[in-house]
């Protein structure tokens, strides 16, 4: 049996998504801007996709939707756009990012910092969620942009983005967030949350990778530094995947959660483990856990041999950030279920996980 539990990195494409995208490659490949009949047909599919996206996010007609490269790239571009537009011009001198953001974003932020801009990275609390109180203390009227994702890609931690948004509004600072790991798990209403910039990829929601959405709230002055790509098939795929994800939300919140909880319960019975982020503050499909004396890559190796594919999260220093026992630093392994995961797969995983951990603890580290 093969059990794929790395859905917070990449997912199987839903057949309905591939069906929706197929005509864009084989029949309606004309440019949507073209003035002929073929172009009009492409345009129709294009507009339909945008409609789905607007509906899923509760965005208005006045808001801008741009299709670009994946979320990491969009976030980096956005940081640079803000840097050039507001910081180099002297209006602002500060950027804030949470500790949940991507490596790509930090690298871009490091470049901006090297040019003299002040950059704050907000640390996590022991719950594994960005310290909102610290945001309140760090933000100023000279902050150009605040970047805080809606859900942590690795731990599944859900950030109270409404609180973050309120603080940003109080200081009149634009808020950028990424919705990729919350879509299909909790409702996202850009108007209610009053979000200024949002990115969304359906790469982890059974949609195509490589194409993501950038939402820009009406009225935000975004310089012409953000240009769309021309992945029309990707746009249609994203629109369809988003629609399916929102439809499946209840299933995700109940049925997928039940399976994830079954796994989590079994994990809690294994001695000397560390679960990152309390159950109640996490998305329904994710479990990030460390087992003492069991190194991530070694566990992944043993699981992979048994046909189970999880993820290691060695790049993040999340254990240090939340102030947990440093012996867990290199033991974290992530399990991310999808709506395709079955109970049989979870039962198999539980059995093999127990075996693998026992094996490593008795035969390798002792």
């Amino acid at each position: 049996m093969k059990v794929y539990l790395d859905n917070n990195h990449a997912t199987l494409l839903d057949t309905q998504v591939t069906d929706a995208m197929q005509p864009l490659y084989t029949a309606h490949y004309a440019d949507p801007q073209a003035m002929h009949a073929e172009g009009a047909e492409s345009r129709r599919l294009h507009d339909q996709a945008y409609e789905k996206i607007r509906a899923s996010l509760h965005a208005t007609e006045a808001d801008t939707l741009i299709i670009g490269a994946d979320t990491d790239a969009l976030h980096s571009q956005l940081l640079l756009a803000f840097y050039m537009h507001t910081i180099m011009t002297g209006q602002k001198n500060h950027l804030i990012l949470s500790a949940h953001e991507s490596d790509a974003a930090y690298q871009t932020a490091a470049y901006i910092a090297s040019q003299g801009c002040h950059v704050s990275i907000l640390p996590l609390t022991s719950d594994g969620i960005v310290d909102i109180a610290l945001l309140q203390q760090t933000i100023t009227a000279k902050t150009a942009l605040v970047s805080v994702t809606m859900a942590d890609a690795q731990s599944g931690a859900i950030i109270p983005i409404d609180e973050v948004s309120q603080i940003c509004k109080a200081y009149n600072v634009p808020l950028y967030t990424d919705a990729s790991h919350l879509v299909g798990k909790l409702p996202i209403d850009v108007q209610l949350l009053d979000i200024d910039y949002l990115t969304l990829s359906t790469r982890t929601m059974h949609g195509p990778g490589g194409t993501a959405l950038l939402f820009v709230k009406a009225g935000q002055t975004l310089p012409n530094l953000m240009q769309p790509n021309h992945d029309h098939a990707g746009l249609v795929g994203l629109g369809k995947a988003l629609e399916l994800a929102v439809d499946a939300q209840a299933f995700e919140m109940e049925d997928v959660r039940e399976l994830r909880d079954k796994l989590e319960e079994a994990v809690r019975e294994i001695p000397e483990h560390l679960i990152i982020t309390p159950w109640a503050l996490r998305t329904a499909n994710t479990l990030l856990v460390g087992f003492k004396e069991v190194q991530s890559e070694t566990l992944l190796w043993e699981l992979s041999k048994r046909g189970i594919y999880g993820s290691t999260e060695q790049g993040r220093h999340i254990v240090t950030e939340i102030g947990a026992d440093p012996a867990y630093r290199h033991t974290l392994i992530g399990f991310a279920l999808s709506r395709y995961t079955t109970e049989e797969e979870i039962d198999y995983t539980i059995e093999k996980l127990r075996d693998a951990i026992d094996f490593i603890r008795t035969q390798r580290t002792h």
Binding site: Y106, A109, A110, A113, S114, V119, I121, K292, E293, Q295, E297, T298, L300, W301, S304, K305, Q314, G315, H317, P326, A327, R329, H330, T331, Q363, R364, T365, H366
Partner: protein, 314 residues
Amino acid sequence: MENGTYGNKVNMLIDSPKNCGSISTDELKELEADLFIHTYGSEEIGEKVTLQWAIDSSDDAILLARFTHFGNPAGIAANDMAALLCRNKTVDKAAEITYKGLEYFLRDNPSTPALPEEESYVITLALDAIKEASKAYYQAEEKTEAERTLPCQDSPMSIAAIKETIKLHDLQSIDAVTHYTKAGLYDTACIAPDRLHEMRTHYLSDILKETREEIEEEKRAKMAPLDTPFREMDTAQKIVAINQVIDESIRQFLIMDGGDMEILDIKENGAQIDVYIRYLGACSGCASSSTGTLFAIESTLKEKIDDQIRVLPI
């Protein structure tokens, strides 16, 4: 690091190591040996090896070597092979096992590297553990600051060990340093100062720069006799030149098997250049000394120095 990326030998050793575990009191009694334990690295750092050696205290020979391991699973293969190579070597000789030697034994065939380049550190760390254990065994002198300081949070290697590795493999970039030492792989803040992280006392970029300067310095010092063409050198210079080639290409294989060679004399015999050598240690008396090994030495010298060279063992 997944099951698909390694060769058969490494996969096999990861899954069925022969030397993973600890040495029992019964085994110690049977071998009439003393137990020596050394732990290298830590779980916090992400790589930890505990070596257990059953040592014959009369000559410091390692009669049995075992290990336990926490880290990249390929390290199980490297440590298992290293444990095998340690057997019957004295502790100080075990510390001289070379990178090339260990890596070669992990290959499926002579032309395919045992591990992807990014995981070269697996071999470096297995050998560094043995070196550190050896120092601890002989209770060597006080460690220098460079030997005590670990600049990176995710590598158990000291500054001194990292520098040695840079010199050994002639590493040119930070990426290469990371591949061979694991330093800077996850803890990127140790590479160079940036405004996002707090200052460190040591940075890999400085360590690399310093070491490269030392390498260039050493190259310049060595270059002097070799600017002249080989045939125009005097005998002493010729011997230096030949030894250099032997050091680079041959010597570690002889040493690994307990042997060595030395150059006695060089005589010109018409167009031919005769190099008289003497085999040392296990090489003398070995059947290969007049066949395979001799052929390897001669063809290397023919290729790298002069094709009229003939090697004559005394």
